[in-house]
């Protein structure tokens, strides 16, 4: 009997241990938390959550305390009188039918209110963003400005953003935890969700509806910037491809930022990842990254940087690409069948590349956007991203006609020069 006692205490101890482990984890860096909302929508949900958590905890504590009490109090003891045989008690049963009903009412009323508040049509002056899901990347269109981009979403702080969600193929779901709830992208339908970002920052976004092989690799970044920065960004995006004469980048490992990232990640949680510093971009990017009004990749907080490992078997020699030659190759390359570069190519299947050089990441938030990764991506995209719809273009046994390392480097140099 006493052995029961010990083991039971053990178990309870274990359980509480788990809970605290969890809570502890909570207090350390949680860059994608749903509990620090940065929009009106997010806060409305958070208030409901607090209410739910409160009553949930009450019920939890109540039931488990009763249970433990009964267990300890009514263990069979030797020579103890036979138990009383109440087989029912109407008043009690009515009581514990009504009590939950009351709690549920307390939960239901604000719930319904929030539903109707958050599903009103968006305010007229809202910024409309068309979100189009593809297996497995995101297309963002700003009809108001005629801007089209991919996998990197820019929003002005303080202005309501109204998202019109559509999908080219299967179902996806659009979610940036700090900006509020998610909404599915439904084939043959247009869904809507809107909210007003309240502080500048960079957040991770993900696809949260299972959409096939690379569902896990369908990510994007959201940059909430000041109104001026947004203006600057829009103007820049509207302009045609600016082939900046950037210093030619080698595809060698030395420029491989991904090599350095994991190192950083092994250190104690970097300051960059603290939500406080997460609002780094409020520093006008224009000043921090030279000419470009886009967010500088090298200043991304660690949680928002992309540094997935490249499969070992996929390699490329250390060659220096030439943008001019790359531009030549591109004109006749199969790329043009799928990609848009304003004034150069008009494909519509793949992401718009007009300002590829100004983005921070590749492959829907998987890899840093540098010469090496871009060259490798063109060489064999499916190897870097399972199921990728973009074929491998590198020279290989299977594809002798494919591009050699030099040509790949040239293409990469050209595309990266499209700031």
């Amino acid at each position: 009997m006493t052995s029961h006692y010990r083991t039971r205490r053990l178990a309870i101890a274990a359980l509480t241990a788990v809970i605290f482990a969890g809570l502890a984890a909570c207090s350390t860096t949680v860059p994608n938390t749903t509990l620090e909302p940065r929009t009106d929508f997010g806060r409305a949900i958070d208030q409901l959550w607090d209410n739910l958590l409160f009553w949930g905890t009450i019920v939890f504590v109540l039931v488990e305390t009763l249970l433990i009490y009964v267990i300890l109090r009514f263990r069979r003891r030797e020579g103890q009188p036979a138990p009383r045989h109440v087989h029912g008690n109407t008043t009690l049963e009515i009581a514990w039918t009504l009590a939950p009903a009351v709690i549920l009412a307390i939960i239901a009323v604000p719930t319904v209110k929030t539903i109707f508040d958050t599903q009103r049509p968006a305010p007229a002056n809202a910024l409309t963003v068309e979100v189009i899901g593809h297996q497995w990347w995101w297309e963002f269109r700003y009809p108001e400005y005629g801007v089209v981009t991919a996998n990197e979403l820019y929003l002005p702080v303080g202005r309501t953003a109204n998202f019109a969600l559509q999908t080219q193929d299967v179902l996806h779901s659009f979610w940036v935890p700090q900006l509020g709830g998610k909404r599915d992208l439904i084939t043959n339908r247009t869904n809507h969700i809107w909210f007003t970002p309240e502080s500048t920052a960079v957040w991770n976004g993900v696809c949260v509806e299972y959409c096939g092989t690379s569902h896990a690799n369908m990510r994007f970044k959201t940059f909430v910037v000041t109104a001026e920065q947004f203006e600057a960004w829009v103007n820049h995006q509207k302009s045609g491809p600016a082939m900046a004469a950037s210093a030619p980048a080698a595809t060698g490992a030395q420029t491989d930022t991904s090599a350095t990232r994991p190192a950083a990640q092994t250190q104690t949680p970097p300051a960059a990842a603290e939500p406080a510093q997460a609002s780094a971009p409020s520093v006008p990017p224009a000043q921090t990254s030279g000419q470009l009004p886009t967010y500088p990749a090298d200043r991304l907080p660690l949680y928002a940087a992309s540094y997935n490992p490249v499969p070992e078997e996929l390699t490329i020699g250390n060659v220096v690409g030439d943008a001019a030659r790359g531009a030549q190759i591109y004109r006749t390359a199969p790329c043009i069948a799928c990609h848009v570069i304003q004034g150069v190519s008009a494909g519509i299947v793949g992401p718009n590349l007009t300002h590829l050089g100004s983005r921070t990441s590749l492959g829907a938030g998987l890899f840093p956007n540098d010469a090496r990764h871009l060259a490798l991506w063109i060489k064999n995209s499916p190897a870097m991203k399972p199921g990728s719809k973009m074929p491998a273009f590198g020279k290989s046994a299977a594809m002798p006609a494919g591009y050699d390392d030099q040509q790949l480097a040239d293409l990469a140099a050209y595309l990266l020069s499209l700031k």
């Binding site: 809970i19 860059p31 939960i107 690799n217 990640q265």
Partner: protein, 656 residues
Amino acid sequence: MATTVAAPPRYAVPHTRYERGLWSWLATVDHKKIGQLYLYTAITFFLIGGLEALIIREQLKGPNGSLVSAETYNQLFTMHGTTMIFLVIMPLGAAFFNYLIPLQIGARDVAFPRLNAFSYWVFLLGALFMNAGWLFGAAPDGGWFAYTPLTTHQFSPGLNIDFWVIGLQILGLSSLAAGFNFITTIINLRAPGMHFMRMPIFTWMSFVTQFLLVLAFPIITVAVTFLMLDRFFGTNFYTITAGADPLLWQHLFWLFGHPEVYILILPAFGLVSEVLPVFSRKPLFGYPVMVYSGILIGFLGFGVWAHHMFAVGMGPIADSVFGVTTMLIAIPTGVKIFNWLATMHGGSLRFTTAMLFAIGLIALFTIGGISGIMHSSPPADLQQTDTYFIVAHFHYVLFGGSMMGIFAGTYFFFPKITGRLLDERLGKIHFWLTFIGMNLTFFPMHFMGLNGMPRRIYQYQANQGWDIENLVATWGARILAVAVLVFIWNFIKSRRSGAIAGPDPWGAATAEWSLPSPPPEYNYAVIPTITSRYPLWDVTSPELTADVPHTPQGEKRTDISVGGKGTHASIRTPSDTRMAGEMAHPSAKELGITMPTPTLKPLVASVGLTIMFIGLILKHSVNYSSLWLPVLIGGAAFFVISLYSWLLSPLEPEHH
């Protein structure tokens, strides 16, 4: 199922070759044997589904896990979910329906013994079909709810989804057949005096479950038929280019899917409601309310399905309606929780392993229920849906609820089934490892979800704030693995050499415990007359049932005696090493009881059915596609013929 001992009739002895060995299993129509078949099959699939879960956990142990590829991972979680729901919990439920319902209501078998065998064989073949995908490296990979259009031929051209669609189709037939069978059995084979309000609570919860089955499965059958026709014959139900609406599938699936989750939990609730009173030495608190709440849960279960679709943009009114109806279910469920607590309150509790698991259900299901309520608030759910917070919820209700309840039932009824007790020491180890491992695995998932981790991802990047929780969860799963192995060891060991149980090892209250363990093929030599809810306590410890309502006349006599009819099998002491089964009961023949003749026909028919579906999938095979129609027609013909020969042959040996 004769009520009186007729004069020994003259009839041919049933084919003796069916009486023992492999044949006795292939040809059996005995609900007790079929129940055991379900039990062993389901446990096997639990190991497989669990193994898939282990691989999932190893993959997610840390950032950028690379144990399996994306494609394999997607197959793993799809098959893990499908297996656990359709090939583990449901058949485990069926195992207990089969074994217990006839015993509890005082019957000799189910209403349609051969249909019962048919259900099992169809289930087994469907389960194998579903898993056959692994052999071709093309296991289903559309997630366990297989949302269209991803699962249409356009986006999933492989055989993967074909295996899922057809497999589910076959499994559905099995569940439907079983449903009709048990509804009839419970309505029509209750012993004299076994009024509805005297039925053991497990039978009651099973009764409700059967209605959920026969009402929910036609819906999924239609949904799956559409998908099958789309994939194999080019219809347009889910073809987006033809203007199909992806929400059609979602509505049909969840209209089935939510009742399904109560199909998974109600039998567990029933089992726990059998275990708690016995080890509290108190009648179940508020029996009528327990019954009504069960019915109410089943009823409400049909009105909440769209709570799985809060993110699809149904509009404020639908969101509100489904949110509120969902919350309502907390009320009848809460009543159950509190009545269980009240049953224990004031009792004298014996913490056998069965009792520990029953208590485990109360403790853990409550957690899952509460997170369920957190989902039921649509705006809040927009932050939770499709994250690990959901995964946490349904593992607390499924593992902490269904599995815990089923383990409780297994430890409780194992002696009745095998005549031997499961080892209590190993049992306690099994329980504590399970309890601790379970919480280590699934509690952190709440935090993962709230910290933004999506479900169904085969990899995640470091520095997302998910590493610690995932590592803890993986360790939890490893502990669970050990727990499961302890259970398996206990099961095998005790089956061979466990302590002899005797008819009533626990001092239980219901009729089945009056029979020898295991019971003779005919169960009751004489169909008992039931005069109260706790017929056996009326005999063994009348003081326990003193103030429980009995027959209107207040008469308390019942002709049940421990050890079955007469004294020939009275309680045996553990020192008696003979299996109860080996005890000489008079055979059915000696007692002049006609039992159904063993027959292979149900098995044969189910094989025909499966051949038919194999023909269908051949249509998409590379090398044999030309054969599909002949095989399909051949299988169909085979099925119809065997069906006729089955239906036109008598159930029992002819008398005249």
